[in-house]
Amino acid sequence: MHNFDFVKPATIADAVKALSAEGAQALSGGQTLTPTLKQRLAAPSVLVSLTGIAEMKGVCMGDDGLSIGAATTHATVAKEAAAHYPALAKLAGGIGDPAVRNRGTIGGSIANNDPAACYPAGVLGSGATVVTNRRKIAADDYFQGLFTTALEEGEIVTGVTFPIPQKAAYVKFNQPASRFALTGVFVAKFADGVRVAVTGASNDGVFRWTEAEKALSANFSASAVAGLTVSADGLIGDLHGTPAYRANLIKVLTKRAVEAAH
C-alpha cells in the first residue's frame, strides 16, 4: 500500500468538496478498493470515506418505493429491507460472507459495477433509480459496461430507490471461493411487465435478457423460457466456466428465479 491521506466527512457537501482534491478517491465499504490498494494497484493521494455521512445511511419505505442510502451495508439491507422487498433483502444477505456484508455498501457496489457483483442485477432488474449528489439516473441508463457507469467526475451515489414488484427473486450460481456470481439472475414481475437482469455472465457487465422479459410478461412461468436460447457471444469465459456454460446457466437460473419468485 502506498501512503495516502484519509478524510471522513460528515455531510455530502463536505465529501464532494474533499473529492475535488487532486488524486482524491471515494471509499465506501472498501471491499474492492482496499485489496486494490494493498496490491499497490491504486495510489490515490486522498481517500474520502463516505461511511460517516448520516444522510447516506438507512433503509426507508416511502411513496416512491424503498429508498436505501448509498452507505448502507449489505447486512443492514438484508435485515431492514426484508419486510418491504424480500428478494432484494435476500440478495443482500447472500453477498460474500458476514465480514463482507458488514463492511460493503450498496453505493460502493454499484459505483464499482463489478461484472460479477449481485447488486447491479437487483438494481437493473428492479428498474430502480440511482440518486446522486447531482441528479437521479434510471438504472437502464446507469450501468454502461464493465466497471463503467453514468457517474461523472465528482459525482457520488447517495442512494437508490427501488419500486416494489409484485413478485421477485434473485438466484445466483456461486463462485465458491468469493461467492461472487459465476452467473446470477434477478427476475421482477411488475404490473406492467417483467424485468430480467443478468450478472456475472457478460463481458459488458450486467444486462437485461429482453427475450425472457417478453416471454415472461406474457406467461410468468418457468416453461415460458424453455424454448429460448441464450447466445454465448460476448459472455465471459474463464477457468470457472466457458461462455456456453454461462449461457446455459442464464437460462437455468432464470427458470429457478421465476419458480422462486414471491
Binding site: M1, H2, N3, R40
Partner: protein, 672 residues
Amino acid sequence: MPKDYGIGASSKRREDVRFLSGRGVYTDDVALHGQTYAVFVRSNVAHGRIRKIDTAAAAGMPGVLAIFTGEDFKDVGGNPAGWLINSRDGTPMREPKRPVLAHGKVRHVGDAYAAVIAETYQQAKDAAQQLADDSDIEELPAIVDMRKAVADASNRVHDEIPDNICFDWGWIEDNRAAVDAAFKSAPHITTLELVNNRLVPNAMEPRASIGEYNPGTGDYKLTTTSQNPHLTRLLVAAFVLGIPENKLTVVAPDVGGGFGSKIYHYGEEALVLAAAKKLGRPVRWTAERTESFLTDAHGRDHVTKIELASTKDGEILAIRTETLANVGAYLSNFSTATPTFLHGTLMAGPYKVPHVYVNVKTVFTNTAPVDAYRGAGRPEATFSIERIVDKMCRELNLDPFEVRRKNLIQPDQFPYTTPVGLVYDTGNYQATLDKLIELADVAGFDKRAAASKAKGKLRGMGLSTWIEACGIAPSNLVGVLGSRVGLYDAATVRVNATGNISVMTGAHSHGQGHETVFAQIVAEKLGIPESSVEIVHGDTSKIPFGMGSYGSRSLAVCGSAMNRAVDKIIAKGKKIAAHMLEAAEGDITFADGKFSVAGPTRPRPSGKSPSAPMSRITTRWRRWSRGWRRRPSTIPPTSPIPPGPISARSRWTPKPARSTSPPSPAQTISAM
C-alpha cells in the same frame, strides 16, 4: 466406553486455547526492538540472464539500510539436496548450486535475485520496486514442458546440465529384464498415460523469518516457519552460511500449517541472518500470499506412462511405469527422495504383483522447485495403480471389487515382500474390503442409481485401495538408500523438582496437536494428570537434536523415543523407590503412577502396603540431595542416580521388519 484420559482419549486440544483466543505466537507476531524489514526482488520471467542490477537509486531511497544481490553470496554455499540418488548407469545425480539469491541467471518466476533492507516495510517495498525497474534481465525461452526439456538439449535450466535431467532412476534395475519378459508373454496389457498435476501447498500462515545477531556474543538467532528447526539449523550452519552450529539458535514458534512446504530450508532464511549480521539489527521478512504461491516448494507434477500385464480374468502379472517427475528449477531438500523412494517403493500397492519395474527421470524446468507435499510420491503411486486397475477392469469387462479381492495379498502371506523392496509386516485386506462393501452398501447401489436417475441426476461409484508407508525412517536403511541425514528422533523427559514433567521433543507441531497427544502418552505411562505434562518443541536451544515432523513420523518415531525416555524415568524411579521403601530394586513395581513393593512386606501400622507416587519420589530425591531429610545417610554413596530431579533422554529409530522370504536385491525397507 471411550476413554476420557490418556492414550486414545478424544480430548479437546490444549493448544487450541491459545489459537482460538488469538494468543498464538507466530513468527510474524514477534516484534523486536530495532527491527528492520526485508523485501525480495523477484524475477517476473521464468528464465533470464541477469545483465545488470543497478542498486544506486534504490540505495539512496528513504530508509534503505542495505541491498543484497546474488553477487554477495556467490562465495558461500548452496542449499543442498538431502538425498543422493544414482542413475541407472551408476552415475550420481546432478546437483546444481541453489544460491541464497539468484546469480547469473533467474530460473523461475519468483526466483529472488536481490533483497532490500529498510527501516519500514513500505520503504523496503518502494526501494524493491525501484531496484526491479533498474535491473536488466534478458529473457530466455522458458523450459516448462518436461518432455520438451528432455528432448531439446539446446535450452538448459542450468548451463552445466546438458539434458535438463537430474537423474534417470530404475527401481529395481535388476528386475527390469524379468518384468519385460512378463509383459512379452502376458495375455493382456493395459496402458495408461497420466498427468498428476502440480499444486501449491498454501499453508494458512505464509512463510516468515526473522534473523538476529548479537555482536557482543557472536550468536545468531533465526525465528522461522519450520517443521524441523534442527534440520534448518544444520543446513544453514553446515552448508549455506558456515555459521558454527553452536552459535546459531533456530526457533520455530507456533507454525500455521506446513503440509511439507515448511520442511525445507529456503534462501530467505539465510538472507535475514546475513543481513542481521551486516546491520547488527534484527531483519524480518514475511511472505505475501503471492510470494507463497510462487516460491513455496510445490507438490506432485508427474507425467506417467503406466502399463499393467494381466491374465484375461484380471490377475495382475506385472506393472511397469515410466515417469517424468518435475523438480523445478533447483533441487529442494527432499525433492530427489519424493519421486523415488517415496514413490517407486509403493508401486506394488496392496497387491501380490510378481513383477514391478519403475523408471523415474527427474527433470529440471523453469518452474518453482517441487518437493514433498502431503503423502509425497505415495499418492502419485496410488493414483497410477488404481487408475490402471480400473481401466483393466473396463477393458476386460470385470468387476472392480472382485479383481481387487483376487489380487490383494492374502492374510496368510504376511510378512510379504514386494518386488519393489518393501516388507509389509501384517494385514488383512480382504476383511477391510468386506467391511467396505458392507458399509458402502454396494449391493444397494443399483437401486440408488435408479432413484437418482428418476430425478434426472447421475450417481456413480468409485473404488480405490491404497497402502501408505508412514513414519519416515529407519536411519540405517534410509542411509543406505541415499539419505544424507539419519531419520531418527529424540525426546527428553525431565521430572521437575515438584514432580511435574517437562518433555522436550525433536518433533515439531504445526497443527498436529502434539501438545495434547504427547502429553497423553507421558501422562498415561506415569499415571499423572495430563495437565502436569508440558510439551516443549521448536527451539534448538531447548530440545534434543531430532529430525522434525513430516511423513507421518511424529508419533511413530518421536512418540516412540518419548515412550522409551519415560521407561528410563521409571527405571530410575525404581532405584530411588527401592531406597525409600527399604526394599530390593528388583521387588519394586510401578503401576497407576505408584511405586510399590511386590510380594509380602513387613506390616505397617496403617495396614496399607508401602508405596510411593512419582511426585513423592522426585520430591524426596531432591530433598535427599539437599540434605533436608532427617536421615540423609540413607542416600547410598554408590547410587548410580545422581542427586537432583531425574531426567532421561532417548533417541529412537525404527528397526527394519524381518522378512521370512529371501530379501530382494535392494535393501528391504519397512515401517518407513
